[in-house]
């Protein structure tokens, strides 16, 4: 860490403080609140916890109780906005870990620019300052990867298990992580390979099952139902970016009349692509490549998910600095990619606006075509990322020292 790094962290902190204070001002003086709707849910749930009750007493609280525990200080100190500061801290630690994990072979200027993709990204900043808990999960994942890089597998596993406890999706990372460890320990023989894999595997399970068991003991079936099962049986009929969305809506309405349920199999292509992209680690099993593979894998997961809102983009955004540090995509092509991503998203948002705020019937073709275009753009980007990843070998050899 040099002066410039600390400078960036301090600047990031100050910007977040600015957004945070503006949020308090906006909440007090404007009709449209700055604070995220979910934050009210966390805050209310924490109140029940503070009173010794279950966080699930709050309708639509569908997360691990741990999250509500984090916000108990809100009620202890009687300050509604306190939890946002906690989220900002997690957000900054994530930025700090990105700095730590970014390969130092690149120029300082480039590194600072890439770190800013997280630290000075207005989307990231608004997410944590509005009180969205996504930064907690991002921080856990980054921390797990940090210990993985250091070779401290037990610690990495515990954190990784905890991150799966928070939101199930990081479970997809187990394939590339396992490949990475397996290949890294190759020189040390099969015994060391197995030990390392067992260490991280068992500690992951201990954290995941331990947390799950503890929460189940404390809050009973409601915890399992609300935090996990709900995500399986929910219908997701409300409009969102996902290409599956219209079909899910029509199928859920059609259920009564015995219609098709193609949308039930939404997980199949998603699972297939997540498995296959995860295996991209095999051909170039470096830590730097692992981070890029996680980027591509998460991108595929989000693109094929049956629900997709802009907060999901953060899931792959944490890996973008690593990916870009090794990318060979030209500036021109990069700009084209970003533009297409933004334009197709903009088309969808315009349709979403017509539906949501003007009550126009734009379900078909409007919303549907827009989400299909956005999906196809994402797929095209994904194709570009994969090709790029496969050509990234020369640079990776240079970075092997780092492992």
């Amino acid at each position: 860490m040099v002066g410039e790094d600390w400078g960036l962290i301090i600047l990031s902190f100050l910007v977040r403080v600015g957004f945070f204070l503006f949020g308090i001002y906006q909440d007090a003086h404007f009709k449209v609140r700055y604070t995220d709707i979910d934050y009210f849910v966390f805050h209310d749930a924490a109140k029940y916890v503070y009173e010794g009750k279950s966080p699930y007493a709050r309708d639509t609280y569908r997360y691990t109780p741990l999250l509500s525990w984090l916000l108990v200080p809100n009620h202890y100190f009687g300050w509604f906005h306190l939890g946002k500061i906690i989220f900002i801290i997690f957000d900054l630690i994530t930025g700090f870990l990105i700095m730590k994990l970014l390969n130092h072979a690149i120029s300082k200027k480039r590194a600072l620019m890439l770190e800013s993709i997280w630290l000075l990204n207005p989307m990231v900043i608004t997410i944590s300052t509005r009180g969205n808990a996504e930064s907690v999960l991002c921080c856990l994942i980054m921390l797990a990867l940090y210990y993985l890089q250091k070779g401290r597998y037990t610690m990495a596993g515990l954190l990784y298990g905890l991150s799966i406890h928070f939101k199930i999706y990081p479970i997809i990372y187990c394939i590339p992580i396992a490949i990475f460890i397996y290949q890294r320990m190759r020189k040390e023989g099969p015994r060391a390979q197995l030990t390392a894999l067992l260490k991280i595997g068992v500690s992951t399970l201990v954290a995941l099952l331990g947390c799950g068991w503890a929460m189940y003991k404390m809050y009973g079936y409601e915890f399992l139902d609300q935090a996990y099962l709900y995500h399986l049986y929910r219908t997701d009929h409300r409009h969102n970016f996902s290409v599956w969305n219209m079909l899910l809506y029509l199928d859920s309405a059609n259920k009564r009349n015995g219609g098709s349920n193609l949308s039930k199999y939404a997980f199949v292509p998603q699972l297939l692509l997540v498995l296959v992209t995860g295996c991209l680690e095999w051909w170039n099993p470096t830590f730097d490549n692992l981070l890029s593979v996680l980027f591509v894998q998460t991108f595929a997961f989000v693109a094929y998910n049956k629900v997709c809102t802009s907060q999901y983009f953060v899931w792959y955004l944490i890996f973008l600095p690593f990916y870009l540090s090794r990318s060979h995509i030209s500036w021109k092509r990069g700009i084209l990619m970003v533009t297409l991503w933004a334009v197709t998203q903009g088309i969808w948002l315009s349709q979403g606006y017509y539906l949501e705020f003007e009550g126009k019937n734009v379900f078909y073709p409007g919303i549907f075509v827009a989400s299909a275009l956005f999906f196809l753009t994402n797929v095209w980007l994904l194709g570009g990322f994969i090709t790029d990843l496969k050509t990234a070998v020369p640079f990776a050899t240079a970075s092997k020292k780092n492992n």
Binding site: H237, L247, L280, H328, E358, G359, F368, F375, T387
Partner: protein, 416 residues
């Protein structure tokens, strides 16, 4: 069994009565005019009542909301409502601490008043208002109708009923007390002849009064354009805070609309308020929700509602609109329990039972609002299905070819 039948006609002024009324040996005839209201009440005794519960059924056609309330009426909510304090109610009822209720746009009287009644009564939901109370010992049916210019109403005694007719005009009325004067007539029990009419006057207190709209108005409208989160605007800028009083909005929302209790903090909210589920997965569970909001005087109040996703149509030309009628009420504590009942109506089950007996309701405005809810067309289903499938297949083939195919390695490797 003898049915007690009572007819009340209310005119504006005493001299109007003379010119609008005629009689013969057995019948009285009334002619209508502006503002003339006719109330009929039947009391039927019940012999074998199986349960001890009370049920109230009310009906008011939407078109009647524009008419000003007269001093012999209570203000009923638009549409068909059933309130019951029995715990044994059919499905789709919602529960409140005081009653279980059902609400609908259709006058479904046969289903909810399944008694064989020996009564010569023709239901006319298009024009008439009904307020029916079923108690263990008796059934009371009250019917209101405006007697318009050019309309006539003739009444005479029928078999097995005791008939009484009152014709009144308003002598004086203030915010609470009403003085009405007129005549009251009875019929002979055996010969069915009009026996005698005598002068009479009644002094009573009102539980419901119409707010005089000529002095102040409380506009009620939806913010335009109407999206999936319709905003009800209630303009109370002309009204001031009053001690012992609260400005309220009473809402009976159909299932297609709901209140987010976390966002808009209603005073009371009963019924279906799930924040996520579509209308079609809830329709067997509840008819909707009932809520009361407190409003602020001297300002424009904003209450945000949300619409649920609804079942797709089978024809894109079909527009789906859902109507509801918010009631803007000034509820005041009077300290006088006497206004809970008077010769013409008494407070019963319904939102009024959620307030103390001495509460008086002043009705500022009730307006029917209509919310269009967009919905997809099932005729597009196969297009959507195959397009989705095509997108997925193409994307998977493309990505697998990228992953497993030979990528051109000629990409120039840029040096850092």
């Amino acid at each position: 069994m003898v049915t007690r039948h009572r007819v009340t006609v209310l005119y504006d002024a005493p001299d109007v009565i003379g010119s609008h009324m005629s009689q013969n040996d057995t019948h009285l005839t009334f002619r209508g005019g502006p503002g003339v209201v006719l109330q009929q009440r039947w009391l039927l005794e019940r012999t074998k009542s199986l349960d001890n519960s009370t049920k109230r059924i009310t009906w008011r056609p939407r078109a009647d909301l524009d008419r000003d309330l007269s001093v012999i009426e209570n203000d009923l909510s638009a549409g068909f409502s059933v309130y019951s304090n029995s715990t044994d109610v059919p499905g789709r009822f919602i529960s409140t601490p005081m009653y279980n209720s059902f609400h609908s746009e259709n006058f479904d009287i046969e289903k909810h008043l399944p008694f064989k009644m020996d009564l010569d009564l023709l239901w006319n939901p298009e024009d008439f208002i009904y307020d029916i109370t079923v108690e263990p010992a008796q059934i009371q049916i009250v019917e209101y109708r405006p007697l318009k210019q050019g309309e006539e109403f003739t009444v005479g005694k029928v078999k097995d009923e005791r008939l009484e007719v009152g014709v009144f005009f308003v002598d004086s009325s203030d915010e609470i007390d009403v003085d009405i004067g007129g005549i009251r007539c009875n019929w002979g029990m055996d010969d069915g002849k009009l026996e005698r009419c005598q002068k009479t006057s009644l002094l009573y207190k009102q539980g419901h009064i119409a707010f005089n709209r000529s002095t102040k108005t409380a506009p009620l409208y939806l913010e335009q354009p109407i999206g999936l989160h319709p905003k009800v605007m209630i303009d109370l800028t002309e009204f001031e805070e009053r001690s012992q009083c609260m400005y309220l909005m009473h809402l009976q929302l159909p299932l297609e609309l709901f209140v987010d209790k976390f966002q808009s903090s209603p005073l009371l909210l009963f019924g279906e308020h799930d924040l996520e589920l579509p209308q079609y997965s809830l329709q067997d569970q509840a008819w909707g929700s009932e809520s009361i909001f407190e409003l602020k005087a001297s300002t424009v109040n904003e209450i945000t509602l949300h619409s649920r996703y609804i079942e797709p149509s089978n024809n894109s030309a079909d527009k789906f609109e859902v109507a509801f009628s918010p009631e803007i009420i000034l509820a005041c504590d009077t300290g006088d329990d006497k206004l809970s009942r008077n010769p013409f109506y008494k407070k019963g089950l319904g939102y009024e039972s959620l307030f103390t007996d001495d509460t008086q309701f002043r009705h500022l405005n009730t307006t029917t609002l209509s919310v269009p809810i967009p919905r997809p067309d099932m005729n597009d289903y196969s297009k959507i299905k195959y397009a989705t499938l095509l997108c997925l297949l193409i994307s998977i083939m493309y990505l697998l070819s990228k992953i497993f195919g030979n990528s051109k390695k000629k990409v120039s490797v840029k040096q850092e």
